[in-house]
Symmetry: C2
Subunit: 214 residues, 2 copies
DNA sequence: CGGTCCATGTAAGATGTTACATGATTGG
DNA sequence: CCAATCATGTAACATCTTACATGGACCG
Protein backbone atom coordinates (compact mmCIF):
# COMPACT_ATOMS: atom_id res chain seq x y z
CA UNK A 1 0.00 0.00 0.00
CA UNK A 2 2.85 2.36 0.73
CA UNK A 3 3.57 3.03 -2.92
CA UNK A 4 0.03 4.31 -3.35
CA UNK A 5 0.70 7.00 -0.77
CA UNK A 6 4.13 7.78 -2.12
CA UNK A 7 2.51 8.51 -5.47
CA UNK A 8 -0.36 10.44 -3.93
CA UNK A 9 2.11 12.56 -2.01
CA UNK A 10 4.02 13.56 -5.11
CA UNK A 11 0.78 14.34 -6.91
CA UNK A 12 -0.32 16.49 -3.98
CA UNK A 13 2.64 18.76 -4.64
CA UNK A 14 1.64 19.22 -8.25
CA UNK A 15 0.06 17.18 -11.06
CA UNK A 16 2.47 14.84 -12.79
CA UNK A 17 2.47 12.16 -15.46
CA UNK A 18 3.45 8.57 -14.83
CA UNK A 19 6.70 9.23 -16.58
CA UNK A 20 7.53 12.18 -14.34
CA UNK A 21 6.71 10.15 -11.25
CA UNK A 22 9.00 7.41 -12.49
CA UNK A 23 11.81 9.90 -13.03
CA UNK A 24 11.40 11.23 -9.55
CA UNK A 25 11.21 7.85 -7.90
CA UNK A 26 13.96 5.97 -9.65
CA UNK A 27 16.62 7.45 -7.43
CA UNK A 28 16.09 7.78 -3.72
CA UNK A 29 18.04 10.91 -2.95
CA UNK A 30 15.89 13.31 -0.96
CA UNK A 31 12.90 11.05 -1.43
CA UNK A 32 12.63 7.77 0.36
CA UNK A 33 10.70 5.41 -1.75
CA UNK A 34 11.68 4.04 -5.10
CA UNK A 35 9.70 2.38 -7.86
CA UNK A 36 10.08 1.52 -11.51
CA UNK A 37 7.75 2.83 -14.12
CA UNK A 38 6.22 -0.61 -14.50
CA UNK A 39 4.99 -0.37 -10.94
CA UNK A 40 3.87 3.22 -11.22
CA UNK A 41 1.49 2.85 -14.12
CA UNK A 42 -0.27 0.01 -12.37
CA UNK A 43 -0.50 2.02 -9.17
CA UNK A 44 -1.96 5.02 -10.99
CA UNK A 45 -4.62 2.81 -12.53
CA UNK A 46 -5.45 1.38 -9.11
CA UNK A 47 -5.63 4.84 -7.55
CA UNK A 48 -7.94 6.01 -10.28
CA UNK A 49 -10.16 2.97 -9.88
CA UNK A 50 -10.33 3.81 -6.17
CA UNK A 51 -11.36 7.39 -6.97
CA UNK A 52 -8.27 8.91 -5.38
CA UNK A 53 -6.82 10.48 -8.52
CA UNK A 54 -8.12 11.73 -11.85
CA UNK A 55 -6.20 12.41 -15.02
CA UNK A 56 -6.43 14.83 -17.89
CA UNK A 57 -4.99 13.99 -21.28
CA UNK A 58 -2.59 16.55 -22.65
CA UNK A 59 -1.55 15.13 -26.04
CA UNK A 60 2.15 15.64 -25.46
CA UNK A 61 5.01 15.44 -27.91
CA UNK A 62 5.32 11.66 -28.01
CA UNK A 63 3.05 9.24 -29.82
CA UNK A 64 1.40 8.43 -26.52
CA UNK A 65 -1.09 10.66 -24.80
CA UNK A 66 0.33 12.65 -21.95
CA UNK A 67 -1.72 11.84 -18.84
CA UNK A 68 -1.34 14.27 -15.96
CA UNK A 69 -2.75 12.97 -12.68
CA UNK A 70 -4.19 15.01 -9.81
CA UNK A 71 -5.41 13.74 -6.45
CA UNK A 72 -9.11 14.05 -5.66
CA UNK A 73 -10.38 15.32 -2.31
CA UNK A 74 -10.86 11.68 -1.30
CA UNK A 75 -7.28 11.00 -2.27
CA UNK A 76 -5.94 13.83 -0.14
CA UNK A 77 -8.05 12.65 2.79
CA UNK A 78 -6.66 9.15 2.49
CA UNK A 79 -3.16 10.54 2.32
CA UNK A 80 -3.59 12.65 5.45
CA UNK A 81 -5.12 9.72 7.28
CA UNK A 82 -2.13 7.58 6.38
CA UNK A 83 0.28 10.25 7.57
CA UNK A 84 -1.05 10.15 11.10
CA UNK A 85 -1.27 6.36 11.30
CA UNK A 86 1.58 5.01 13.40
CA UNK A 87 4.34 3.68 11.19
CA UNK A 88 4.94 -0.02 11.66
CA UNK A 89 8.67 -0.54 12.06
CA UNK A 90 9.76 -2.00 8.75
CA UNK A 91 12.01 -4.99 8.72
CA UNK A 92 15.50 -3.58 8.57
CA UNK A 93 17.31 -5.20 5.69
CA UNK A 94 20.83 -4.00 5.26
CA UNK A 95 23.07 -6.12 3.12
CA UNK A 96 26.27 -4.49 4.25
CA UNK A 97 25.57 -4.91 7.94
CA UNK A 98 24.69 -8.50 7.17
CA UNK A 99 28.09 -8.90 5.58
CA UNK A 100 29.74 -7.35 8.60
CA UNK A 101 28.06 -9.92 10.80
CA UNK A 102 30.03 -12.49 8.79
CA UNK A 103 33.25 -10.55 8.82
CA UNK A 104 35.02 -13.02 11.08
CA UNK A 105 35.18 -15.39 8.11
CA UNK A 106 37.53 -13.12 6.19
CA UNK A 107 41.27 -12.60 6.60
CA UNK A 108 41.84 -9.17 8.21
CA UNK A 109 43.17 -7.44 5.12
CA UNK A 110 40.14 -8.39 3.04
CA UNK A 111 37.80 -7.38 5.83
CA UNK A 112 39.46 -4.01 6.06
CA UNK A 113 39.40 -3.46 2.29
CA UNK A 114 35.73 -4.27 2.18
CA UNK A 115 34.78 -1.85 4.94
CA UNK A 116 36.99 0.84 3.48
CA UNK A 117 35.26 0.56 0.10
CA UNK A 118 31.90 0.91 1.77
CA UNK A 119 33.05 3.90 3.75
CA UNK A 120 34.24 5.66 0.62
CA UNK A 121 30.96 5.11 -1.10
CA UNK A 122 29.09 6.71 1.75
CA UNK A 123 31.53 9.60 1.90
CA UNK A 124 30.79 10.25 -1.73
CA UNK A 125 27.07 10.16 -1.14
CA UNK A 126 27.41 12.51 1.78
CA UNK A 127 29.24 14.96 -0.45
CA UNK A 128 26.42 14.79 -2.98
CA UNK A 129 23.80 15.36 -0.31
CA UNK A 130 25.70 18.33 1.02
CA UNK A 131 25.80 19.79 -2.47
CA UNK A 132 22.05 19.46 -2.70
CA UNK A 133 21.72 21.03 0.68
CA UNK A 134 23.86 23.99 -0.28
CA UNK A 135 21.70 24.56 -3.34
CA UNK A 136 18.41 24.39 -1.50
CA UNK A 137 17.76 27.80 0.01
CA UNK A 138 14.58 27.91 1.99
CA UNK A 139 15.50 30.58 4.53
CA UNK A 140 12.24 31.12 6.35
CA UNK A 141 10.02 28.70 4.48
CA UNK A 142 7.10 27.70 6.65
CA UNK A 143 6.47 24.12 7.73
CA UNK A 144 3.42 24.15 5.49
CA UNK A 145 5.51 24.29 2.33
CA UNK A 146 6.65 21.19 0.45
CA UNK A 147 10.13 22.71 0.19
CA UNK A 148 10.62 22.42 3.91
CA UNK A 149 9.49 18.80 3.98
CA UNK A 150 11.89 17.95 1.18
CA UNK A 151 14.67 19.68 3.03
CA UNK A 152 13.88 17.69 6.15
CA UNK A 153 14.27 14.40 4.29
CA UNK A 154 17.56 15.61 2.91
CA UNK A 155 18.73 16.25 6.44
CA UNK A 156 17.78 12.68 7.26
CA UNK A 157 20.04 11.54 4.45
CA UNK A 158 22.91 13.71 5.62
CA UNK A 159 22.61 12.44 9.18
CA UNK A 160 22.41 8.87 7.99
CA UNK A 161 25.54 9.11 5.85
CA UNK A 162 27.47 10.73 8.67
CA UNK A 163 26.44 7.95 11.01
CA UNK A 164 27.43 5.34 8.45
CA UNK A 165 30.84 6.88 7.93
CA UNK A 166 31.48 7.19 11.65
CA UNK A 167 30.55 3.56 12.12
CA UNK A 168 32.87 2.42 9.33
CA UNK A 169 35.69 4.44 10.86
CA UNK A 170 35.07 2.86 14.21
CA UNK A 171 35.01 -0.59 12.62
CA UNK A 172 38.26 -0.01 10.76
CA UNK A 173 39.86 1.08 13.96
CA UNK A 174 38.63 -1.96 15.82
CA UNK A 175 39.64 -4.34 13.05
CA UNK A 176 43.09 -2.89 13.19
CA UNK A 177 43.37 -3.11 16.97
CA UNK A 178 41.88 -6.56 17.24
CA UNK A 179 44.06 -8.13 14.59
CA UNK A 180 47.35 -6.55 15.63
CA UNK A 181 48.88 -9.16 18.07
CA UNK A 182 47.39 -11.92 15.94
CA UNK A 183 49.16 -10.83 12.80
CA UNK A 184 52.46 -12.17 14.10
CA UNK A 185 51.23 -15.69 13.63
CA UNK A 186 50.14 -15.24 10.05
CA UNK A 187 52.43 -17.29 7.87
CA UNK A 188 51.58 -16.46 4.28
CA UNK A 189 48.37 -18.62 4.29
CA UNK A 190 45.56 -16.11 4.28
CA UNK A 191 44.01 -17.58 7.42
CA UNK A 192 44.73 -16.81 11.05
CA UNK A 193 45.80 -19.87 13.00
CA UNK A 194 44.49 -20.21 16.54
CA UNK A 195 46.65 -17.75 18.42
CA UNK A 196 46.78 -19.11 21.93
CA UNK A 197 44.76 -20.50 24.79
CA UNK A 198 41.29 -22.09 24.78
CA UNK A 199 42.01 -24.51 22.01
CA UNK A 200 39.66 -27.29 23.01
CA UNK A 201 36.11 -27.27 24.30
CA UNK A 202 34.20 -24.20 23.44
CA UNK A 203 31.06 -25.14 25.38
CA UNK A 204 28.97 -26.17 22.35
CA UNK A 205 25.74 -27.02 24.08
CA UNK A 206 22.72 -26.76 21.82
CA UNK A 207 21.87 -24.12 24.42
CA UNK A 208 18.44 -22.58 23.98
CA UNK A 209 19.76 -19.21 25.08
CA UNK A 210 22.29 -19.26 22.30
CA UNK A 211 19.52 -19.16 19.77
CA UNK A 212 19.01 -15.55 20.55
CA UNK A 213 16.52 -13.31 22.21
CA UNK A 214 13.49 -11.21 21.25
CA UNK B 1 19.99 -14.36 -3.29
CA UNK B 2 20.86 -12.44 -0.15
CA UNK B 3 18.77 -14.65 2.08
CA UNK B 4 20.84 -17.63 0.99
CA UNK B 5 23.94 -15.96 2.34
CA UNK B 6 22.24 -14.76 5.47
CA UNK B 7 21.35 -18.37 6.21
CA UNK B 8 24.80 -19.67 5.27
CA UNK B 9 26.36 -17.09 7.57
CA UNK B 10 24.35 -18.22 10.57
CA UNK B 11 25.13 -21.84 9.81
CA UNK B 12 28.82 -20.99 9.58
CA UNK B 13 28.72 -19.96 13.23
CA UNK B 14 27.26 -23.28 14.25
CA UNK B 15 24.80 -25.87 12.91
CA UNK B 16 21.18 -24.93 13.32
CA UNK B 17 17.74 -26.21 12.42
CA UNK B 18 15.29 -24.33 10.24
CA UNK B 19 13.32 -23.52 13.32
CA UNK B 20 16.33 -22.00 15.08
CA UNK B 21 17.17 -19.95 12.02
CA UNK B 22 13.62 -18.69 11.93
CA UNK B 23 13.78 -17.68 15.60
CA UNK B 24 16.98 -15.80 15.02
CA UNK B 25 15.79 -14.04 11.91
CA UNK B 26 12.31 -13.00 12.90
CA UNK B 27 13.57 -9.94 14.73
CA UNK B 28 16.27 -7.74 13.30
CA UNK B 29 18.03 -6.60 16.45
CA UNK B 30 21.74 -7.18 16.14
CA UNK B 31 21.17 -9.03 12.89
CA UNK B 32 20.19 -7.25 9.76
CA UNK B 33 18.13 -9.53 7.66
CA UNK B 34 14.74 -10.93 8.51
CA UNK B 35 12.76 -13.84 7.14
CA UNK B 36 9.80 -15.98 8.08
CA UNK B 37 10.07 -19.68 8.54
CA UNK B 38 8.15 -20.22 5.32
CA UNK B 39 11.00 -18.60 3.44
CA UNK B 40 13.70 -20.34 5.40
CA UNK B 41 12.66 -23.93 4.75
CA UNK B 42 12.59 -23.26 1.05
CA UNK B 43 15.97 -21.59 1.15
CA UNK B 44 17.48 -24.51 3.05
CA UNK B 45 16.17 -26.91 0.42
CA UNK B 46 17.64 -24.76 -2.33
CA UNK B 47 20.99 -24.54 -0.56
CA UNK B 48 21.07 -28.27 -0.15
CA UNK B 49 20.19 -28.83 -3.80
CA UNK B 50 23.09 -26.52 -4.65
CA UNK B 51 25.43 -28.57 -2.47
CA UNK B 52 26.15 -25.69 -0.09
CA UNK B 53 24.69 -27.25 3.03
CA UNK B 54 24.05 -30.76 4.34
CA UNK B 55 21.78 -31.85 7.15
CA UNK B 56 21.76 -34.52 9.78
CA UNK B 57 18.55 -35.76 11.31
CA UNK B 58 18.43 -35.64 15.08
CA UNK B 59 14.99 -37.00 15.97
CA UNK B 60 14.16 -34.17 18.32
CA UNK B 61 11.36 -33.89 20.85
CA UNK B 62 8.59 -32.94 18.42
CA UNK B 63 6.79 -35.25 16.02
CA UNK B 64 8.94 -33.90 13.21
CA UNK B 65 12.53 -34.88 12.64
CA UNK B 66 15.01 -32.35 13.83
CA UNK B 67 17.21 -31.39 10.89
CA UNK B 68 20.44 -29.62 11.75
CA UNK B 69 22.15 -27.98 8.78
CA UNK B 70 25.88 -27.39 8.30
CA UNK B 71 27.57 -25.55 5.45
CA UNK B 72 29.80 -27.58 3.12
CA UNK B 73 33.22 -26.37 2.02
CA UNK B 74 31.59 -25.18 -1.21
CA UNK B 75 29.04 -23.28 0.85
CA UNK B 76 31.70 -21.51 2.88
CA UNK B 77 33.57 -20.61 -0.29
CA UNK B 78 30.44 -19.12 -1.82
CA UNK B 79 29.84 -17.17 1.37
CA UNK B 80 33.34 -15.73 1.44
CA UNK B 81 33.12 -14.83 -2.23
CA UNK B 82 29.87 -12.99 -1.59
CA UNK B 83 31.40 -11.11 1.34
CA UNK B 84 34.06 -9.50 -0.83
CA UNK B 85 31.71 -8.68 -3.71
CA UNK B 86 30.90 -4.96 -3.70
CA UNK B 87 27.51 -4.36 -2.14
CA UNK B 88 25.06 -2.81 -4.56
CA UNK B 89 23.40 0.13 -2.81
CA UNK B 90 19.95 -1.14 -1.96
CA UNK B 91 16.97 1.03 -2.68
CA UNK B 92 16.35 2.96 0.51
CA UNK B 93 12.75 2.49 1.52
CA UNK B 94 11.85 4.30 4.67
CA UNK B 95 8.19 4.78 5.33
CA UNK B 96 8.65 7.36 8.01
CA UNK B 97 10.91 9.58 5.95
CA UNK B 98 8.37 9.25 3.17
CA UNK B 99 5.74 10.51 5.55
CA UNK B 100 7.94 13.40 6.54
CA UNK B 101 8.22 14.39 2.90
CA UNK B 102 4.45 14.89 3.04
CA UNK B 103 4.46 16.63 6.36
CA UNK B 104 3.43 19.98 4.88
CA UNK B 105 -0.06 18.53 4.39
CA UNK B 106 -0.68 18.26 8.13
CA UNK B 107 -1.62 20.95 10.64
CA UNK B 108 1.43 21.72 12.82
CA UNK B 109 0.18 20.05 15.97
CA UNK B 110 -0.48 16.76 14.20
CA UNK B 111 2.88 16.91 12.47
CA UNK B 112 4.63 17.44 15.77
CA UNK B 113 2.72 14.63 17.48
CA UNK B 114 3.64 12.24 14.71
CA UNK B 115 7.35 13.04 14.82
CA UNK B 116 7.36 12.88 18.60
CA UNK B 117 5.82 9.40 18.57
CA UNK B 118 8.48 8.24 16.16
CA UNK B 119 11.22 9.74 18.25
CA UNK B 120 10.01 7.97 21.35
CA UNK B 121 9.94 4.65 19.58
CA UNK B 122 13.54 5.04 18.53
CA UNK B 123 14.59 6.16 21.98
CA UNK B 124 13.10 2.97 23.33
CA UNK B 125 14.93 0.89 20.78
CA UNK B 126 18.17 2.64 21.57
CA UNK B 127 17.71 1.77 25.22
CA UNK B 128 17.21 -1.87 24.31
CA UNK B 129 20.31 -1.89 22.14
CA UNK B 130 22.34 -0.32 24.91
CA UNK B 131 21.16 -3.02 27.26
CA UNK B 132 22.34 -5.66 24.84
CA UNK B 133 25.60 -3.85 24.51
CA UNK B 134 26.11 -3.71 28.26
CA UNK B 135 25.54 -7.46 28.47
CA UNK B 136 27.91 -8.36 25.68
CA UNK B 137 31.40 -8.39 27.10
CA UNK B 138 33.98 -9.22 24.51
CA UNK B 139 36.96 -7.36 25.96
CA UNK B 140 39.79 -8.45 23.75
CA UNK B 141 37.93 -10.75 21.37
CA UNK B 142 39.79 -11.03 18.10
CA UNK B 143 38.29 -9.89 14.82
CA UNK B 144 38.19 -13.54 13.78
CA UNK B 145 35.50 -14.35 16.32
CA UNK B 146 31.79 -14.23 15.52
CA UNK B 147 31.21 -12.40 18.80
CA UNK B 148 33.08 -9.40 17.55
CA UNK B 149 31.16 -9.31 14.27
CA UNK B 150 27.88 -9.46 16.16
CA UNK B 151 29.02 -6.66 18.41
CA UNK B 152 29.92 -4.57 15.37
CA UNK B 153 26.40 -4.88 13.97
CA UNK B 154 25.01 -3.91 17.34
CA UNK B 155 27.13 -0.76 17.20
CA UNK B 156 25.60 -0.04 13.81
CA UNK B 157 22.20 -0.25 15.42
CA UNK B 158 23.17 2.05 18.25
CA UNK B 159 24.61 4.63 15.88
CA UNK B 160 21.56 4.45 13.69
CA UNK B 161 19.12 4.98 16.54
CA UNK B 162 21.12 7.91 17.82
CA UNK B 163 21.10 9.49 14.40
CA UNK B 164 17.38 8.94 14.11
CA UNK B 165 16.68 10.53 17.47
CA UNK B 166 18.89 13.52 16.71
CA UNK B 167 17.13 14.02 13.42
CA UNK B 168 13.69 13.88 15.05
CA UNK B 169 14.81 16.41 17.64
CA UNK B 170 16.05 18.71 14.94
CA UNK B 171 12.77 18.30 13.07
CA UNK B 172 10.68 19.04 16.14
CA UNK B 173 12.70 22.14 16.70
CA UNK B 174 12.29 23.30 13.14
CA UNK B 175 8.58 22.56 13.10
CA UNK B 176 8.21 24.65 16.18
CA UNK B 177 10.24 27.55 14.84
CA UNK B 178 8.71 27.49 11.41
CA UNK B 179 5.12 27.46 12.57
CA UNK B 180 5.45 30.04 15.31
CA UNK B 181 4.66 33.28 13.38
CA UNK B 182 1.91 31.38 11.55
CA UNK B 183 0.22 30.20 14.72
CA UNK B 184 -1.32 33.62 15.28
CA UNK B 185 -4.01 32.68 12.84
CA UNK B 186 -4.97 29.53 14.72
CA UNK B 187 -7.51 30.25 17.41
CA UNK B 188 -7.98 28.47 20.76
CA UNK B 189 -6.71 25.04 19.58
CA UNK B 190 -4.54 24.12 22.54
CA UNK B 191 -1.33 24.97 20.75
CA UNK B 192 1.15 27.58 21.91
CA UNK B 193 0.20 30.98 20.54
CA UNK B 194 3.02 33.16 19.26
CA UNK B 195 4.53 34.58 22.44
CA UNK B 196 6.22 37.78 21.37
CA UNK B 197 8.83 39.43 19.20
CA UNK B 198 10.50 38.14 16.04
CA UNK B 199 7.33 37.91 14.06
CA UNK B 200 8.82 38.31 10.62
CA UNK B 201 11.99 36.87 9.15
CA UNK B 202 14.84 36.33 11.55
CA UNK B 203 17.66 34.95 9.35
CA UNK B 204 17.35 31.34 10.59
CA UNK B 205 19.96 29.44 8.66
CA UNK B 206 19.56 25.65 8.81
CA UNK B 207 22.60 25.32 11.10
CA UNK B 208 24.35 22.05 10.21
CA UNK B 209 25.52 21.45 13.75
CA UNK B 210 22.00 20.88 14.92
CA UNK B 211 21.79 17.41 13.44
CA UNK B 212 24.31 16.16 15.93
CA UNK B 213 26.39 13.09 15.34
CA UNK B 214 26.93 9.81 17.21
C1' DC C 1 20.77 7.58 -39.67
C1' DG C 2 21.72 6.16 -34.98
C1' DG C 3 21.20 7.14 -30.11
C1' DT C 4 18.82 9.35 -26.39
C1' DC C 5 14.80 11.36 -24.42
C1' DC C 6 9.90 11.33 -24.09
C1' DA C 7 5.88 8.31 -22.85
C1' DT C 8 2.92 4.30 -21.67
C1' DG C 9 2.08 -0.03 -21.14
C1' DT C 10 2.39 -5.78 -20.44
C1' DA C 11 4.48 -10.12 -18.81
C1' DA C 12 7.45 -13.16 -16.49
C1' DG C 13 9.93 -14.04 -12.65
C1' DA C 14 12.03 -13.35 -7.95
C1' DT C 15 11.17 -12.23 -3.33
C1' DG C 16 8.44 -11.63 0.81
C1' DT C 17 4.07 -12.06 3.80
C1' DT C 18 0.04 -14.34 5.61
C1' DA C 19 -2.52 -18.10 6.35
C1' DC C 20 -3.26 -23.13 6.51
C1' DA C 21 -1.87 -27.70 8.29
C1' DT C 22 -0.14 -31.11 11.71
C1' DG C 23 1.17 -32.99 16.11
C1' DA C 24 4.11 -34.10 20.38
C1' DT C 25 5.81 -32.15 24.92
C1' DT C 26 5.71 -29.13 28.83
C1' DG C 27 3.88 -25.84 32.25
C1' DG C 28 0.10 -23.47 34.57
C1' DC D 1 -7.45 -29.13 29.86
C1' DC D 2 -5.66 -25.21 27.54
C1' DA D 3 -1.97 -22.64 25.83
C1' DA D 4 2.59 -22.15 24.42
C1' DT D 5 6.75 -23.99 22.51
C1' DC D 6 9.00 -27.01 19.40
C1' DA D 7 9.23 -28.32 14.50
C1' DT D 8 8.47 -28.57 9.43
C1' DG D 9 6.21 -27.81 5.62
C1' DT D 10 2.59 -25.84 1.60
C1' DA D 11 -0.31 -22.40 -0.76
C1' DA D 12 -2.09 -18.08 -1.91
C1' DC D 13 -1.15 -13.58 -2.25
C1' DA D 14 1.24 -9.06 -2.52
C1' DT D 15 5.17 -6.65 -3.99
C1' DC D 16 9.25 -5.58 -6.72
C1' DT D 17 12.54 -6.26 -10.61
C1' DT D 18 13.69 -7.21 -15.35
C1' DA D 19 12.66 -7.60 -19.81
C1' DC D 20 9.70 -6.91 -23.88
C1' DA D 21 7.04 -3.73 -26.86
C1' DT D 22 6.09 0.60 -29.44
C1' DG D 23 7.00 4.93 -31.65
C1' DG D 24 7.57 10.13 -32.38
C1' DA D 25 10.97 14.16 -31.71
C1' DC D 26 15.45 15.97 -31.50
C1' DC D 27 20.55 16.15 -31.68
C1' DG D 28 24.94 15.20 -33.63
Amino acid sequence: MTLRFAVLGLLAERPRTGYQLARRMERSTDYYWTARHSQIYGTLAALEAAGQVVHTVLAGPGPRDNKAYTPTAAGLDALRAWLTTPTAPRAERDEFVLKVSNLWLLPPDEAIAMVRAHRDEHAERLARYLDFEAESKLDNASAAMPEFATYATLRAGVGYERHRIAWCDWLLDELDRRTRGHQVHRSRTGVTPAPCGADAAPPRRPSPTATGRP
